[in-house]
């Protein structure tokens, strides 16, 4: 890593308002607030343990490249830094098969509002020792602590990974295909990704008359609507092409923002209490409220 976790903690300090600069891919530093940068650099990749350890400031492209060299990958979107991706907690379009991104974080050394280095989680792929602070920190937008170092769970690259398209009903594909990695639908056309043994992918592709394509379609943006996957059928009444929906997941990529309902007071109170206990003076990413951030692409 290009600096130690203790140097990072010293930069975060103990008193003043502070934000994280990162790569500014997902919003970056808050304007007008002194910014710090987390350590960058890969510490270790261990394919036999399926883990990667690195500084939170490490670019995701560097992570993906290094993992690919040992036949591994990690379910974190490309672009920006790994710390920024985890802080925002937004999954990529493979969530249908790979689950939400929040599940990949095994351990982190983060710097809290007191300026102290704090460990959450454990280095092994399975761990229930104590409360699950890793899940708390993923998607907290750096309001409870700043990621310094992280250990994430990796997985082997599939032997074959291909994108297809079809005009078939996406819900029938969801019902009939065995664990597709992604099914995207714009109201008319369906795109899907199948991973696995090349022969199995061939069988599925011919069975469902899929046409191979180079990759997924461009996603309308910048907004991501979050709806129960059971409500996606209702999109049939909308103009084809005005959205791309992740079938079986419930994320809908759109140009216009989603109107969200009011927050349950009990949820608001829990958020406020957690913030109060972790950052009483509100100096970490001051003014940022995870409940109000909304989902950004």
């Amino acid at each position: 890593m290009d600096r130690t976790i203790d140097e990072f903690a010293a930069a975060v300090g103990t008193v003043d308002a502070v934000t994280v600069e990162g790569a500014a891919t997902r919003g970056g530093a808050l304007p007008g607030v002194p910014a710090v940068n987390a350590p960058a650099g890969i510490v270790r990749i261990d394919a036999a343990e399926m883990v990667l350890e690195c500084g939170a400031g490490t670019p995701m492209n560097e992570v993906h490249t290094a993992l690919a060299e040992v036949g591994q990958t990690v379910s974190i979107p490309s672009g920006g830094t790994i710390g920024g991706a985890l802080a925002c907690g937004i999954s990529d379009i493979t969530r249908l098969a790979h689950g939400p991104m929040r599940d990949v974080l095994l351990q982190t050394q983060f710097v809290g509002a007191s300026g102290k280095v704090t460990k959450a989680g454990g280095p092994t792929v399975k761990n229930v020792s104590g409360f699950d602070l890793c899940r708390l920190l993923v998607g907290a937008y750096g309001t409870l602590g700043f990621f310094g170092e992280v250990i994430v769970r990796t997985r082997p690259l599939p032997r074959s990974s291909r994108w297809f398209t079809t005009d078939s009903d996406p819900f029938e594909l969801l019902a009939g295909l065995y664990r597709p990695v992604s099914i995207l639908w714009d109201g008319k056309t369906t795109w899907l990704r199948l991973d696995g043994d090349p022969g199995d992918v061939d069988v599925a592709a011919s069975g469902f008359r899929l046409r191979q394509v180079d990759g997924p379609p461009p996603l309308p943006g910048p907004h991501r609507w979050s709806v129960p996957p059971g409500e996606l059928r209702a999109l049939r009444s909308e103009i084809p092409g005005s959205f791309v929906a992740q079938i079986g997941v419930g994320v809908v990529h759109r140009v216009e923002p989603q109107l969200r309902g009011p927050v349950d007071p009990a949820i608001r109170q829990l958020h406020d209490r957690i913030k109060q206990h972790f950052d009483p003076s509100g100096r970490l990413n001051p003014g940022l409220d995870p409940l109000a951030v909304g989902i950004r692409s």
């Binding site: 394919a47 819900f171 994320v251 206990h277 995870p290 989902i295």
Partner: protein
């Protein structure tokens, strides 16, 4: 005090389901660990409203409460602090709704793990976490402990299979954490509630993810001349980019104990055996099996038994999951640990387990999730032999300390509870623990939700109760 509590509870809950008799309070004073407490009152909840009523009484009177599922926990998580209101969720056992298309279901917390999978089997799906106790453990208990199981190697533990939770918070308010929609604004409170061991409130409804059943499955049993050889093959398999659905190891004493009971044709002459299961589409299963056999041959593994049909597969799994019961063929009592170590250190740690237990003169059976490095050394003993319990206790502490020292963790799936509470400093600094305490205080400012568990430092918990008799901490 008890009369007042009972009266307050019976005002809002059917009096027949509020019990404080000697029979009930004794029955509910322990879980499947070796520890006991003393329940004050037991509420047999049938609804969220019952749970809320009980929690509100506890909050108003400042009494400790804890929810309890099937009581199969091994870390003392459901051992009541003295005088606690125990809220049994066993009667809340309905599957509320199933969304077959999107493979989700809302269930009550008292639904048994295996019952859920059986009830949805006709839809071609199952609930992936499969603890060995899955015939009796409840979904609510799985949520509290973030339970695992042999098949969590590929599909993840309970947290990865819970989408939303209706909960009664320790102040009696009801809310939903997470949701069926995937990207709610705000913190992942669902994620922190799972595995919080009853200290953040009571789950009253659980939205679970159901996984597609696999079109093909292959199960094989391999025998080894040493534990180290078996452990090495596990690392070889994962390093080759294969993640089997399950990789389980049984050592010789385990094989012998199980064989004496089940007569499954286990290789009792072998130092260890690996039970490996590959699942998926036919081509993938075939290629993984072939690769694994090649890797095994390269390590000199001579005997590989492949389950010929569903019956033989079930028999092999019965042998694995029944191992704890088979202990009775060796000694009447056992004490089970649950550390996780890096796969590369498995052989070294098992050797250390043998060395430690031999030094204390205790028999040990090893049966564990080798694929994710999750050890389950069973220290078997006879509690009637004087001084044995102290030796088992000391040996266990050494095993846990060694596991953590090589880069492992205290618990992979059983939780901390009372049992490992005071071992938490082996893994976490005071600063680390204070962050966990901060999260707890946010959920439970009164410190009444299953107090005295998980976190070792009672500094902020002046009203905590003493550790129950027999607690092995």
């Amino acid at each position: 005090m008890t009369d007042e509590v009972v009266a307050a509870l019976q005002e809002q809950i059917d009096p027949a389901r509020v019990r404080s008799g000697a029979t009930e309070t004794r029955l509910y004073r322990r879980d499947a660990s070796n520890m006991t407490g003393q329940a004050g009152v037991i509420v047999f909840a049938e609804s969220t409203a019952d749970v809320q009523a009980a929690v509100c009484v506890a909050a108003r009177l400042g009494l400790p409460f804890l929810a309890r599922g099937s009581g199969t926990g091994l870390a003392g998580g459901a051992v009541p602090p003295d005088g606690a209101i125990v809220i049994s969720t066993s009667k809340m056992n309905q599957i509320i709704s199933v969304d077959a298309e999107n493979r989700q279901a809302w269930v009550e917390p008292g639904v048994l793990n295996l019952d859920l999978s059986k009830q949805v089997a006709h839809l071609g799906v199952h609930f992936a976490p499969d603890p060995s106790s899955q015939q009796t453990c409840s979904i609510g208990g799985n949520v509290a402990n973030n339970s695992g199981g042999p098949h969590c190697l590929a599909d993840g533990v309970t947290s990865a299979h819970v989408l939303a939770l209706e909960v009664v918070l320790p102040d009696g308010s009801i809310t939903v954490l997470g949701g069926e929609d995937p990207e709610q604004n705000g913190l992942d409170l669902r994620g922190v509630f799972v595995g919080s061991e009853g200290m953040f409130g009571v789950a009253t409804k659980v939205c679970v993810r159901l996984m597609q059943n696999h079109p093909d499955v292959a199960t094989m049993l391999m025998e080894f001349d040493s534990v180290a050889e078996g452990a090495q093959l596990v690392s070889d398999i994962i390093a080759a980019g294969i993640v089997p659905a399950a990789v389980e190891m049984m050592d010789q004493l385990c094989l012998q104990a199980v064989e004496a009971w089940l007569h499954a044709g286990l290789p009792t002459h072998a130092a260890a055996a690996l039970l490996i299961e590959c699942v998926g589409a036919a081509g993938q299963v075939a290629s993984e099996m072939a690769q694994i056999r090649m890797l095994a041959a390269a390590r000199g593994v001579a005997n590989v038994r492949i389950a010929a049909d569903e019956g033989e597969r079930a028999e092999l799994w019965k042998a694995r999951k029944g191992a704890f019961g088979a202990v009775a063929n060796v000694k009447p009592n056992y004490y089970l640990h649950d550390t996780v170590v890096p796969r590369a250190r498995l052989a070294e740690v098992i050797e250390k387990v043998y060395e430690i237990t031999a030094r204390y003169g205790i028999d040990v059976i090893n049966v564990f999730h080798a694929g994710d490095g999750n050890l389950h050394p069973l220290l078997v003993y006879d509690a009637r032999e004087e001084g044995t319990i102290d030796k088992v206790h000391e040996a266990g502490r050494e095993i846990v300390a060694f596991s953590v020292a090589v880069g492992g963790v205290l618990s992979g799936e059983h939780g901390i509870g009372l049992e490992k509470r005071d071992l938490m400093p082996l893994m976490f600094s005071e600063v680390d623990l204070s962050a966990q305490e901060a999260l707890r205080l946010a959920f439970d400012p009164q410190l009444i939700a299953n107090p005295n568990k998980v976190l070792p430092n009672p500094a902020t918990c002046g009203d905590m109760h003493e550790v129950p008799d027999g607690a092995w901490i």
